[in-house]
């Protein structure tokens, strides 16, 4: 017998909430960013588990596109962080950056 669907779903739930906790608890922008990656991976796991359960390859295709978007997002996001820290304020704390605050 193989791994039941529920096991994969439970692991995905734990990883997603870990990522969420990282986003809402931490102040370091780099770690917030990594937590977002963790959440993306939890959702990927969910998609793959359901893809296998229903025998439908579309779930795996979707994970493939999520990976593409994650790569682009990481490149642009880290470029923004580098640019902010170099040109605006020498800090990594998320609440030090309030350029758009009214």
């Amino acid at each position: 017998m193989d791994v039941p669907l529920n096991y994969a779903l439970a692991l995905a739930a734990v990883l997603f909430v870990t990522g969420l906790a990282g986003v809402i608890l931490r102040r370091n922008i780099l770690i917030i960013f990594m937590s977002v990656e963790l959440m993306l991976n939890a959702v990927n796991l969910q998609l793959l588990a359901f893809s296998r359960y229903f025998g439908n390859v579309n779930g795996q295709i979707f994970v493939f596109f999520v990976l593409v978007v994650a790569a682009a997002e990481a490149a642009v996001g880290l470029a923004i962080i580098v640019s902010l820290v170099r040109h605006y304020k020498d800090s990594l704390m998320a609440d030090d950056f309030n350029l758009l605050k009214g």
């Binding site: 017998m1 193989d2 791994v3 039941p4 529920n6 096991y7 779903l9 439970a10 692991l11 995905a12 739930a13 734990v14 870990t18 969420l20 906790a21 990282g22 809402i24 608890l25 931490r26 102040r27 370091n28 770690i31 990594m34 937590s35 990656e37 963790l38 991976n41 990927n44 796991l45 793959l48 296998r52 359960y53 229903f54 025998g55 390859v57 795996q60 295709i61 493939f64 596109f65 990976l67 593409v68 978007v69 994650a70 790569a71 997002e73 990481a74 490149a75 642009v76 880290l78 470029a79 923004i80 580098v82 640019s83 820290v85 040109h87 605006y88 304020k89 990594l92 704390m93 609440d95």
Partner: protein, 211 residues
Amino acid sequence: MTAPVAVFIALAAVAVVSGLNVILRRNPVHSAIFLAFTIVCLAGIFVLLNAEFIAATEVIVYAGAIIVLFLFTMMLLDIRGGMLAHQFQSQTGVAAPVAVLLLICLLGVAIGVFNFSFLPAASISAAKAAQLGSVQNLGQELYSNFLLPFELASLVLTVGLVGAIGLAGRRVEDQEEAERVAEAQAFDAEIRAREGGALEPEDEEPVGAHH
């Protein structure tokens, strides 16, 4: 307990412990290393779920590209001790229970408190499941039904590349730019000082000071 279940539980345990370390470590470099551990464990689980190609892509894209990008960024930013002070938000007391509550809800759905029975691994035959994640199967689908999204993905990557260079590629010694930023910061401070004086003096205090 069969072998796949045992392997799954071992990989899941390592993934969860590393995931917790990602969000609890003080040093972002440690977080990045633990994120790599999590990714590798997840790739192993993807193999158990008959997604071999996705598992390989996951390791190449995440562990090979994204984590390395994170590490390069940290190297560029030259993280000092002062940058690592005050690691947690002041709303921790609210945020942590909210996260735990969501975890209980999601686990309830996933494990079956809400009248879900334990579902089997797949509703299809084992032979068909083994074929599911093969490169042939995936490629056929990708180049027929998903051809347009596939081509658009290359566009997204190109735009991401150009955007990243455009954002981070500006030279530090660009004097004009530095002056403009300094001007903007001075203007910012002036506005804040004026508003703080008119409204309430505590507004001047930096956000992190009272933690």
